[in-house]
């Protein structure tokens, strides 16, 4: 499966949704700084991987998908929740990239400039996250194809036997 850019989602978004993301992200970032100041970098660092966007994004995806389905006269509750769930599954895959980002910063920041470290770590995050997604997609599709073909083979093998039974009856 290929990924693509779709601008329709942005057209559907309202101003308050952008404000909500900004406020949520800003608050969590400021809280992270305050926690680090109060409890030290070891506790504060945990919050650098706090799920800041996910709750807001999942809620908005659910709302948009539900509205889309309801425009065609159907109940979109299940579809909205499923779409939000698929987004969260993507975030779970992206965590591998997040861990690599942190590992690179931990290892190279003391001996390099902050700019170089952050650019290197961000590129590594993107490469790892996209690779995990592509591997998972290929594996998933490969397994699904194999399951389908074995299922068809079993049905094909079963067919003559059942037809013989029918003829005997």
């Amino acid at each position: 499966m290929k990924f693509k850019i779709d601008t329709s989602e942005i057209a559907e978004s309202k101003l308050y949704e952008y404000v909500l993301r900004f406020v949520f992200g800003g608050t969590v970032t400021a809280m992270t700084g305050l926690i680090a100041k109060r409890y030290g970098p070891e506790i504060g660092g945990l919050f650098l991987a706090f799920p800041a966007i996910l709750p807001a994004t999942a809620t908005l995806i659910e709302k948009h998908e539900k509205e889309k389905k309801e425009r065609s006269g159907k109940n979109g509750t299940a579809r909205g929740r499923k779409a939000a769930g698929v987004d969260a599954a993507g975030a779970a895959m992206g965590c591998a990239g997040l861990a690599v980002f942190a590992l690179i910063v931990w290892q190279i920041l003391p001996n390099s400039s902050s700019g170089f470290t952050l650019v290197t770590a961000t590129v590594a995050w993107l490469i790892v996250a996209v690779s995990v997604w592509l591997i998972r997609e290929k594996l998933w599709r490969g397994l699904a194809r194999r399951f389908r073909s074995s299922h068809h083979r079993r049905r094909a093998l079963r067919r003559p036997v059942s037809s013989i039974h029918r003829r005997i009856k």
Binding site: G26, F50, V86, A88
Partner: protein, 151 residues
């Protein structure tokens, strides 16, 4: 000009102070464990912008599972680490990044549980994602205790 306006432990005016290890303390009071409002406002603005940018990028992309990768973008880290390294020193920021590895494992567990609950379609997104934050806290602090807390 430091700390002209005071409200308990919160201070409004900050001044850059060079420290011994090459870092620059943005607020002379920060070293005493007190909070500088300018620093907080700066973090809110930068954090808000970075988180919104990644969120927007995620909204632009299809399919949804691919867009979800941006839900686990290092947005808070990008907004925080450069500032922390500048003010507290690179060693301090590096220690934060070490703990961030544990936080990202906790995030993975949280996102996986949320995805399973939502795909089954029994619960709405907002309460599911909000209550499941407890899973992140348990995993993050549990891992911290096991890996770093005993050291």
């Amino acid at each position: 000009m430091n700390a002209r306006l005071k409200t308990g432990g919160i201070h409004f005016n900050c001044v850059a102070q060079p420290t011994g290890d090459g870092a620059v303390a943005g607020c002379v009071l920060a070293a005493r464990g007190q909070v500088c409002v300018k620093d907080i406002v700066f973090r809110v603005i930068v954090g808000g912008l970075v988180v919104s940018a990644f969120s927007l990028l995620g909204a632009l992309l299809k399919p949804k599972s691919f867009a979800g990768l941006f839900g686990a973008a290092p947005s808070i880290a990008l907004a925080t680490i450069a500032l922390t390294a500048m003010k507290e020193g690179k060693e301090y920021a590096s220690l934060e990044a070490r703990s961030m590895i544990l936080g990202s494992f906790a995030f993975c567990v949280y996102a996986y549980v949320v995805s399973r609950l939502l795909i089954r379609g029994r619960f709405p997104a907002l309460p599911t994602t909000a209550f499941a934050i407890a899973i992140w806290f348990i995993c993050a602090f549990g891992l911290w205790y096991v890996v770093l807390g005993r050291a």
